[in-house]
């Protein structure tokens, strides 16, 4: 029962209420952070499929490090980048559980690239939510492997120079080449239509796991308004104008 529900007058029926899988804890994300939308979508997917009792999440290191406090389901906290490896262990030890990881780009694409690629290649029956905001948010806005060319960060004050630091890593395209994964898709959450599409993709990724299809990864292109130093409303526009040029949306691999 939510705090606000008591004030609803007679005759009104709920259109949207806070997901039951979320705890009462207030999100620790910055104002307007797309992480909040994605966390909420994962909770909605868990509610929709009715799997809260047997879901185990793996919290990453990064902005979503307190994820275990936001959800009303079991959680394990993995070392930086090792969420897929921990998820593999939990899923293999108890295949009845629904195991998902929720990782940022610093976690999944940088230090955890090896664990992710091998978990995908083995076709582990887990669900991975990959939040790609092109920056290391929690530590103060350093360059990540997914940072766009020319993008200013704390460690690339003149903009990312591809001659020195290389090109942004398209993790989803890379994983889609492998035979292991069942479902690889890239979504975004900058407007309501895309939020609904991302929600469908997350539900599908969880369904794949329930049906035993194998490794499913949903990449979500997000913005970090705090480290871009722009208001949240402009950050959503930034995603459409800048990030989506390098990270086009759509399903990259769907195995039936």
């Amino acid at each position: 029962m939510s705090v606000v529900e008591a004030k609803v007058p007679a005759g009104f029926v709920p259109v949207y209420t806070r997901p039951k899988s979320l705890s009462e804890k207030r999100f620790t994300y910055c104002p307007g952070c797309h992480h909040g939308i994605i966390t909420r979508l994962v909770a909605e997917a868990i509610d929709e499929l009715g799997i809260q009792e047997r879901t185990v999440g793996i919290a990453p290191v990064g902005c979503a490090v307190f994820l275990y406090e936001f959800f009303r389901c079991d959680f394990a906290q993995a070392a930086h980048g090792r969420a897929c490896a921990v998820a593999t262990g939990i899923k293999r030890a108890n295949p009845d559980l629904i195991v998902f990881t929720y990782q940022g780009d610093g976690d999944l694409a940088a230090i955890g690239a090896a664990e992710t690629i091998h978990a995908a290649n083995r076709g582990e029956n887990i669900t991975v939510i990959f939040v790609n905001n092109q920056i290391y948010g929690m530590t103060g806005g350093e360059m990540a492997p997914t940072t766009l060319p020319g993008m200013r960060t704390v460690t690339t004050p003149e903009g990312r120079d591809v001659r020195i630091t290389g090109y942004p890593l398209r993790m989803s395209e890379m994983l889609a080449q492998l035979d292991g994964p069942a479902y690889i898709t890239r979504q975004a959450v900058f407007d309501v239509r895309h939020v609904q599409m991302a929600r469908k993709a997350i539900v599908k990724a969880f369904k794949n796991q329930i049906e035993g299809k194998g490794f499913s990864l949903v990449e979500i292109v997000a913005a970090c308004p705090t480290n871009l130093h722009i208001p949240p409303v402009e950050a959503s526009r930034w995603v459409t104008e800048q990030a989506l040029k390098y990270f086009p949306l759509g399903d990259l691999k769907v195995r039936d």
Binding site: S2, V4, V15, F27, G32, I37, V192, P232
Partner: protein, 77 residues
């Protein structure tokens, strides 16, 4: 009479304004009211226009918004 009702959990709201730009009828606005964390919270500027579509709640990054819609009263035959 408004068809919809938007309830904002003021302690959760961080005043990011994503609900304000999402609302198709300009019902919501960032108010001058501060919550206990010092954020200007979102509120209904024009509650009569609300249709209860729920788009603001789908966009809210803090799951602070709940939306209700007036149930159409069935006429007795």
């Amino acid at each position: 009479m408004a068809k919809g009702l938007v309830l904002v959990d003021k302690d959760r709201c961080k005043g990011c304004g994503l609900c304000v730009i999402t609302c198709p009828f300009a019902v919501l606005a960032i108010t001058s009211e501060l919550n206990r964390y010092g954020y200007n919270v979102a509120g209904q500027r024009d509650p009569e226009k609300c249709t209860g579509c729920g788009m603001c709640a789908q966009m809210c990054p803090d799951a602070a918004i709940e939306v209700y819609r007036l149930r159409p009263v069935k006429e007795e035959v």
